[in-house]
Symmetry: C2
């Protein structure tokens, strides 16, 4: 055999790997031809001056990958049909050719999304960004999380990797969540009613598909969360804005609408987005009464109420009623981290079947490994511990922000919604238009968002949303100082 | 102070952790009352006979979690407002009360899903299950995968955990996929056209939302994949079944329909599901010509063509045209593992914007950690290596299955679609109705699926789908032996 094989003792690759690569290259470059016989392991080992075990190891790897075949009585040969030939098609031009296709006609759904209106407020990269909804990610116990991922990577491999057998999500996780929301949010449910999803946006999308027909009216808080509004609009809903005051959504304005006009109302009662105000118990009961009378469904989006600073929480709408249809939406994006993509939906028993199936049609299931790790994270107390730590941390940051705002702006600022969550809202006495203020703040390296974006009507120019959870105390102070300079 | 604290030297918990737990319990049970002063670290350490550092560590943990507060000049006190109070609402009844809600009116979408027709063939737990679409999960290099997950759990924590900045998915992964599909499938695209999604079902759901209006006609292979059909139906499409013969979808039957009736056609050209046949080049070109002429969009679902045994692959439809609109769908569910939930969609440039936004509205993004690990898995050659190994393994299992079928059934069986993928289809000469055969096989511990389920019309009673990728050679042989017993 003419084959020249060079192995290097100072190579980082072990010898059997070097030999494997050399032989594979020889086969692919046709120096070793299909059907050709290889030297015996003994002969090759002796000619290369390496151990026979090393050669055997390389041969076995190549056999398992389909380059070589071992034929009883006649040694090892190069396979006639090589795997790489089967893995590759004829080469194509590196760059795609200019496309000539006509753009297909989009549905009304598609048309509603095919514009340049942002799905979220723009997020420039700025040194001090008062971004709402961003947790203190550096504080997440990633070492602990990694340990839990690892643990399950060592468990029953087939069960871990195969499709889930339960359409609603991992039963253990659904139990852990049912207990968690009962204890922390007074949600009343069994694990059967819990459906694991990829975050709250998927909940809103599924609810819209199942309950909102094109032309139906959906009542939304004004101002309110953009992601929900876009999902309703895409599906063809008519939006009915309902004003929000210092006590949250003004239920009497809902009640003043024609009976049964509103099919669904979307609310954030624990920490209204973006104003941050909390819906008091009396209004909660009023809202539930209205929903029951009008046969309307309520979406209760509880995105960050785990962080409460000043008072005992008011029970979730879901737990206050046995008669109204409340769909409770929770997420781990804020209490753990956003890129995890796990949330949950608590639905009335009559709807569990259809929601589970709609979830399957959308994208089948949430990744199993993350569901397993999250189950342990909750069960073993890491979630409670992390929540306690973050509550303390965010409370400090919140206080620093409030103090800095009062110090620099005094009477010229009013602060709303600072008792819960990860952001608050300010009203500044200023003659600058909102956009101009945001622009000047960005020039000074400070990111703030005008609340005008969140209004469907009557957008004020003096309201801004300030997230503080992800910013250090020093940055918060420096940020407010810079804002004060701009506004003075 | 009356506090009794007991630490055990033979406890598995370290001392600082034991002390933390004891103090926390004392606070929560009000043995230590809100506002009460704790002993100094020095005093407590000396009274317990442990080091002062241990006490300090416990105090600091309790301070960080909001149980204690350190007051300058007056030592450490129990917080007035305890975190657990803020984390808990009033206790609720353990079991949910019987619900009185009326079930809300479902949309047409919801009604189409709210039935008992299975989304997939039933999957009883059987010792030998010829399940299609199930890879050899025990062979997945989980150790390698774990290593990649770990690596990224050590990278930039904030970037890993925060929301993605790119709506289409991780740019590095999109590049790696664009190269992979160019090389292995002759797909012609840039990374810009690749959109990362949660598996192929999400691709079908998104495409339907964006391109199929209620009442539009969608052509589907008959027989064909159920998940796609259910998604089209839920969205209100009219299904037009097109027959499949030994060469795949019969394009002339498409061409015989009224011009421009069909808005979208869903095909599995590389390995038709469930028949397993491959669409030859001539028919591919015919199909593309038809789509171009009729302004129809093609969904090319390429779910398992990475496994090819007998021939060089035919280029993907997507790579054969510059004029027709082909949406190419790929998944890692078969080549890696199903519970990963990562797939991709290659769309014409004119559609990337709206697809990225529709994905955001559906559930924002795919988890970042998995995207990072998958990028490295592809880039570092693990994917190619795993594909080669599995190809060899599946090829052996396939041959064992074919031989066993021929051995036991001889002329009474015809085999289709065995040259690619992870399953094949058989036609058995038998007088037993399909359901009866499936039932008897199950009684003998063998799972097989009748292809009748996959037909929209003219369902035959003699066709069955046999997946072999996930079964050992021994089980395959034993399974066929048992089937032969039933059929003889």
């Amino acid at each position: 055999m003419d084959l020249v094989i060079s192995l290097e003792s100072n190579n980082v690759l072990p010898l059997h790997r070097q030999l494997y690569e050399e032989l594979r290259r020889a086969i692919l470059s046709a120096r070793l031809r299909p059907g050709e016989r290889l030297p015996s392991t003994r002969a090759l080992a002796s000619s290369l001056g390496i151990s026979r075990a090393t050669v055997t190891q390389s041969y076995e790897q190549l056999i398992s990958e389909g380059y070589l075949q071992g034929v009883v009585g006649s040694g090892t040969k190069v396979c006639v049909q090589l795997p790489d030939e089967l893995l590759r098609t004829a080469p194509v031009k590196a760059a795609a050719a200019p496309q000539q296709q006509r753009k297909p006609q989009l549905t009304r759904y598609g048309q509603s999304l095919d514009d340049s209106v942002p799905l979220e407020p723009p997020e420039p990269e700025l040194p001090i960004n008062f971004k709402s909804g961003r947790p203190a990610l550096e504080e997440f116990p990633l070492t602990q999380w990694r340990r839990l991922l690892l643990r399950h990577c060592r468990s029953d491999q087939a069960a871990l990797l195969d499709y889930a057998t339960n359409l609603r999500g991992l039963p253990e996780l659904r139990h852990a969540i049912a207990e968690h929301v009962a204890r922390s949010r007074a949600v009343r449910c069994t694990a059967e009613q819990v459906i694991i999803i990829n975050g709250s946006q998927q909940a809103i999308d599924l609810i819209t598909k199942l309950l909102i027909e094109r032309g139906d009216t959906v009542a939304v808080e004004n101002p309110g969360y953009l992601g929900a509004r876009r999902a309703f609009l895409a599906q063809g809903a008519k939006l009915q804005p309902i004003p929000v005051d210092e006590n949250g959504i003004v239920v009497e304005r809902l009640a003043a609408l024609p009976p049964q006009l509103v099919k669904l109302v979307y609310v954030t009662p624990s920490h209204q987005f973006p104003t941050g105000v909390v819906l008091p118990l009396a209004r909660r009961l009023e809202l539930l009464q209205w929903a029951e009378t009008n046969g309307a469904v309520i979406i209760e989006d509880d995105y960050d109420s785990e962080f409460r600073y000043d008072s005992r929480p008011i029970p979730a709408l879901q737990g206050l009623t046995e008669n109204a249809n409340v769909l409770y939406v929770g997420t781990f994006s804020k209490v753990l981290f956003p890129s995890l993509r796990i949330g949950y939906l608590v639905v009335p028993t009559s709807l569990t079947h259809v929601f589970a199936r709609a979830r399957w049609i959308a994208d089948r299931q949430t990744p199993t490994l993350e569901q397993l790790a999250l189950t342990d994270f909750i069960r073993e107390g890491h979630l409670d511990r992390h929540l306690r730590r973050m509550r303390t941390l965010y409370d400090k940051r919140r206080q620093v922000l409030v103090r800095a705002l009062r110090h620099h702006f005094g009477e010229r600022v009013s602060i709303l919604g600072e008792n819960t969550g990860m952001h608050l809202m300010v009203r500044w006495q200023t003659k600058l238009p909102a956009e101009e203020l945001v622009r000047r703040a960005a020039e000074a390296g400070v990111g703030i968002v005008s609340a005008a974006l969140y209004y469907l009507e009557r957008a004020p120019q003096d309201e801004f949303v300030l997230g503080y959870a992800g910013l250090s105390e020093r940055r918060i102070q420096e940020g407010v100082r810079r804002l004060a300079k701009i506004l003075s």
